[in-house]
């Protein structure tokens, strides 16, 4: 591990200021991903700014009838919140499908969104990876890429975003609130947080340097059922092979792209009266495989209609 400085932020304003003025600074909260990456020297921050104690862990009702989840709220806390469980069941289901109990106790809402890919070539520092070392190439492209992206990949990167929680948030039309080093507060749809890899897979979000996620805001729950289904090699503590979040008419997919993938083509097809199978077929027109991950296209085509039907039944029953 490389030497670095560590400090605990006193407030959000000073945290973003310090982060912006130090190249290579990183926020740390739960540390469940960052510390692993530092041990492997994939992340080599010069300065760690601990935001874990900042008063941003509350889950509050919004005047609009939604919820504002502080970015420091732990995954366990959010999943167990009675309002989340009753009105945003898809979010609880998605969170508990991720990581392990111990990880969820430490991992925060903001950190979960900013976790990095589990691509094996990203983790193995002897291999080329444009995300880890821009310009070095993509080891996964011609490699053992069983769990790589089927949507939005580029020749530079075929990695997927591993978050389950983010997939549910995408289906729920959540918005992300941030604080910029200039003191500016902004909010934008979560689907605009992450980028597709393009030529610069090392740049994973639209956040500017030092910008801090302060909260995730859920609008009132959409009418209809909600469900999260994750397919994985083992029953727990396993990255998804594919996942789907359905919230009313909204459909989002996980483990299929560099970002949580809002299935807008499928939603459009459903809107115009298509069956769930037709809807996902429409979405999958934009899918492509990289050799070993083609099964994911088949998997998504089987998984999503079942999830949509299940959510509909739930919605009709409610």
């Amino acid at each position: 591990m490389r030497p670095f400085t560590y400090e605990r932020a006193l407030d959000a304003a000073s945290a973003v200021r310090v982060a912006a003025e130090t190249p290579g600074a990183k926020f740390i909260a739960g540390g469940t991903n960052l510390l692993d990456l530092m041990k492997l020297e994939i992340e080599q921050p010069a300065r760690l700014i601990d935001i874990g104690k900042l008063p941003m862990a509350a889950i509050e009702d919004t005047p609009e009838g939604g919820l504002r989840i502080g970015s420091m709220a732990t995954n366990s806390h959010v999943a167990a919140d009675a309002r989340v469980r009753s009105r945003y069941a898809v979010l609880t289901q998605a969170i508990v499908a991720g990581g392990s109990g111990q990880l969820r106790n430490k991992a925060t809402t903001g950190g979960n969104l900013l976790q990095r890919t589990r691509c094996a070539y990203f983790y193995d520092t002897t291999k080329p990876c444009n995300k880890r070392q821009p310009g070095s190439g993509c080891g996964a492209l011609e490699g053992l890429n069983r769990n790589s992206a089927i949507f939005g990949a580029s020749h530079a990167c075929i990695a997927t975003h591993p978050s389950d929680m983010a997939v549910a948030l995408a289906a729920l039309d959540a918005r992300v609130e941030t604080l910029s080093p200039s003191g500016k507060v902004r909010a934008f749809p979560i689907i605009e947080l992450h980028r597709l890899p393009g030529e610069t897979p090392d740049v994973e979000t639209h956040l500017i340097p030092g910008e801090l996620i302060t909260a995730v805001v859920l609008p009132p729950p959409p009418p209809g059922g909600q469900i999260y289904r994750k397919v994985r090699d083992r029953a727990s503590y396993s990255a998804g092979l594919a996942s789907v979040a359905v919230a009313g008419r909204n459909v989002a997919l996980g483990a299929v792209a560099h970002k949580p993938w809002r299935a807008v083509e499928a939603e459009g097809a459903l809107e115009s009266g298509g069956s769930p199978a037709e809807a996902i077929a429409a979405e999958l027109k934009g899918a492509s495989d990289n050799g070993r991950n083609g099964f994911k296209i088949n998997l998504v085509s089987r998984l999503v209609p079942v999830a949509i039907e299940a959510a509909r039944q739930q919605g009709n029953g409610a």
Binding site: P3, A120, Y123, T126, N298, L299
Partner: protein, 750 residues
């Protein structure tokens, strides 16, 4: 040398089990230390003075050589005490042409500029802190020149050779018998390379006092590692004391030892200061050993009424260039089923991959995944229940060599398992049982694993408090050695369990071969029993000769040992009283065990039957185990609890072998894709529904004086095949390329 009939004839306290300690579910002797984090594992041992810390650098190529070395930046890095590569490493004993499991020999580290496999250790940095060592290790600049590499097993079958010293074993005329069989199975199964993934990585704390080297390390074989290390260091064996008190999992992967041991000892000598050195999880994957992949062609021929007429397993597997290890996936079949025409053998491909070696039930764990599924396929083809098909082909004597079985209760395992599991409720037509999103199926498989006994010694001491100390250069790799040795001592000397201390894992103690091949309990325990019997004899001689003892005058043959009291008829005294009067410094007796001269007259194995129920989600291809039952016959059971833990642990591992576990080689780099426990998937709690292991009452008096056998490797043997058979019963699909992951199952289902 004793004979099997001596063992059968002689009674002993373990057989008599008067206090009832043998077989009991005794809690782990060292359990409280482990669960409170106070059992010091090798890296945690406190050395006599502040240690330095090592970090190793691993080769990023599979085959080639180091062409340039620049350690200037590493040496200048804060806190660095030493940087070694092949250029400046200390002189060490020369590597022999081939290694084997039991012959100690030098294992020089940083041997030369040659890189033999990806992840080979090529440099070490030692610094004042672990962090400084790791930071400096990243600054070691090495340049490599790659040679052509052969790493893709399946592309090199044409280079497969007969393993040295082996030949195919044919009984009858297999080809003719198979050709003439009215019902045939001829399929190929593939198993992947697997890593041991012990919880505790290989690690060493080493220091020197004068010319005496002390190492605390994590190995399965004490003397082997001690002697090999001494020969590597080029010092007399006695100058090395090797301790391995607690081992966080071995599974065969710590049967040998690695650079942590050698380099820690060398660096500690060089620096005159203790050194700690451990493998990282990533380094464990390449830098130690693995179970190699196999391809098994299984052919079965049978009559229409279910009698096997021909049986063959031919296995292709791989090992490293300099090794000889063969995953003998065909061997177990030689003793399992009767068939007049039989052919088994192996072919070995040498590759530029890390070192292949033994992993839990080497041979059986891989091989049962083929044959025991082939039997299921044959049963279906014949329209015979899989249990009944196996019973139809139960041999009366070992079908390969005609030797009688020492005891064989495979049929009873299958029958009792079928009854307990509810096998009669099985619908033999696949795909008929649904439970919500799951198609439910059941499957079974037989289990077999050989039984072995090796030479070992032990000593027992009784002190003036009446406490018994067992001493043996044995290891406990999580199996329960401490506990069963304490039980044997308590039962043999008639003292409460709490009055027994067990000292193992130390090369200064009487030698035992260690843990492996499920020979540990029988081997170490039999030597311990002998030491206990000799101590009883010594105590008796003192008692009947001591005028101050109520036992004075004997008759010696009537002496009893019970509750810390020795008695003859109604005359008794406390054992501690006798020792205090006569041997206040304590009384010690040695014991030993050797295989019986005639033990090879019998075919000796442990047996079992696995029953598994799985759910298959046909939308997603996911498989989840719902319940498992294993019924096992493995001789007398010393400790119900630790034996059951080993068996269920093996069964769970079998689930992993069937469903999730395996590593893949990226042929471009010769490296393994899964390098941590988030990507190398072993089962977690949620993958395993109900799991139960039943142990039949059994005594195998031909195995050793206690009539016990091993259980460490039996539980995994066959378990994965039962899962695969249950998947077929659930959804009608066979995947013969393990592990059976959702992508493969979906492809077959679609």
């Amino acid at each position: 040398m004793s004979s099997v009939s001596d063992w059968e004839a002689a009674s002993n306290p373990v057989k008599e089990n008067r206090a009832g300690i043998i077989g009991k579910a005794v809690d782990r002797y060292e359990g409280p230390l482990k669960v409170t984090g106070t059992a010091p594992y090798a890296y945690e041992v406190q050395p006599p003075s502040p240690p330095a810390y090592g970090a190793m650098v691993s080769a990023p190529i599979a085959h080639g050589r180091i062409t340039a070395v620049d350690t200037a930046a590493a040496e200048a890095s804060p806190g660095v005490l030493l940087v070694w590569t092949h250029r400046n490493k200390p002189t060490q004993g020369p590597r022999p042409e081939r290694y084997d499991f039991f012959t100690p020999s030098p294992r020089p580290a940083l041997e030369s500029d040659r890189v033999h496999f990806f992840g080979q250790q090529v440099a070490i940095v030692v610094a004042d802190t672990l962090e400084n060592a790791q930071a400096a290790a990243a600054l070691v600049k090495l340049e490599f020149e790659a040679d052509p590499q052969a790493v893709d097993f399946r592309n090199h079958y044409d280079e497969a050779v007969q393993p040295p010293g082996e030949s195919d074993v044919e009984i009858g005329d297999f080809e003719a018998g198979f050709a003439a069989s009215p019902v045939k199975i001829d399929d190929v199964w593939r198993t992947p390379l697997q890593n041991h993934c012990q919880m505790e990585p290989c690690a060493t704390t080493a220091w020197w006092e004068g010319d005496q080297c002390t190492v605390h390390t994590s190995v399965q074989m004490v003397r082997f590692a001690q002697n090999s290390l001494a020969e590597t260091l080029m010092v007399p064996h006695k100058n090395v004391r090797l301790l391995t008190r607690y081992v966080g999992g071995g599974f065969g992967g710590k049967g040998s030892f690695y650079e942590d041991l050698v380099l820690a000892a060398l660096a500690a000598r060089e620096l005159g200061r203790p050194v700690k050195l451990a493998f990282s999880r990533q380094q464990m994957m390449h830098g130690t050993v693995h179970r190699p992949a196999t391809e098994q062609r299984v052919r079965l021929g049978a009559t229409a009424d279910g009698k096997l007429t021909a049986m063959s397993i031919m296995t292709i597997t791989h090992c490293d260039r300099r090794g000889n290890f063969t995953e003998h996936a065909s061997n177990f079949a030689r003793s399992l089923y009767a068939a007049p025409n039989r052919l088994t053998g192996h072919r070995l491909v040498r590759l530029d991959l890390p070192v292949a070696s033994a992993m839990r039930a080497p041979g059986e764990a891989s091989g049962t995944l083929g044959l025991e599924v082939a039997m299921d396929e044959l049963a279906e083809k014949l329209g015979i229940d899989p249990v009944e098909l196996r019973i139809l082909n139960e041999p009366e004597v070992d079908p390969e060599n005609g030797r009688p079985f020492s005891i064989r209760q495979l049929v009873r395992c299958m029958r009792e398992g079928a009854q307990l599991f509810g096998w009669d409720k099985r619908n033999s037509v696949p795909g008929q049982v649904r439970d919500g999103r799951w198609l439910v199926g059941v499957g079974m498989a037989a289990a077999i694993r050989g039984n072995f006994l090796l030479p070992a010694k032990a000593s027992f001491t009784v002190d003036a408090m009446g406490l018994i100390t067992v001493r043996q250069g044995m290891t406990d790799i999580g199996t329960g050695t401490y506990t069963v040795l304490a039980q044997i001592a308590a039962e043999t000397l008639g003292v409460p369990l709490g009055d027994v201390r067990v000292e193992i894992g130390d090369s200064e103690l009487p030698p035992a071969p260690g843990s492996g091949g499920q020979f540990g309990a029988a081997t170490a325990g039999s030597a311990a029993l002998d030491a206990g019997m000799n101590l009883r004899q010594a105590i008796t001689e003192i008692a009947v000769a001591d005028p101050a003892s109520p036992l004075f005058g004997g008759p010696a043959e009537q002496i009893t040992f019970q509750d810390g009291v020795i008695a003859i008829a109604n005359r008794s005294e406390r054992l501690s009283e006798l020792i205090r009067r006569n041997r206040p410094e304590g009384l010690t007796a040695e014991g030993e065990i050797r295989p019986a001269a005639d033990s090879s007259k019998w075919s000796q194995h442990t047996y079992g039957a696995h029953y598994v129920e799985v759910g298959v989600d046909t939308i997603t291809g996911e498989v989840r185990t719902r319940r498992m039952l294993g019924v096992f016959a493995a001789g007398r059971i010393l400790n119900w609890k630790t034996a059951r833990s080993q068996l269920t642990g093996g069964m769970i591992w079998g689930v992993g072998s069937a469903l999730t576990e395996g590593n893949a080689v990226d042929p471009r780099y010769g490296s393994l894709i899964n390098q941590d426990l988030a990507s190398y998937l072993v089962p977690v709690q949620a993958d395993i529904g109900d799991v139960e292991a039943i142990m039949l009452d059994e005594v195998d008096d031909k195995a050793n004086p206690m009539g016990i056998k091993g259980v460490g490797e039996l539980g995994i043997s066959g378990a994965g095949a039962a899962v695969a058979n249950a998947i077929y019963n659930a959804c009608g699909v066979r995947v013969r390329d393990y592990p059976i992951t959702p992508d493969k199952l979906l492809a077959a289902l679609s």
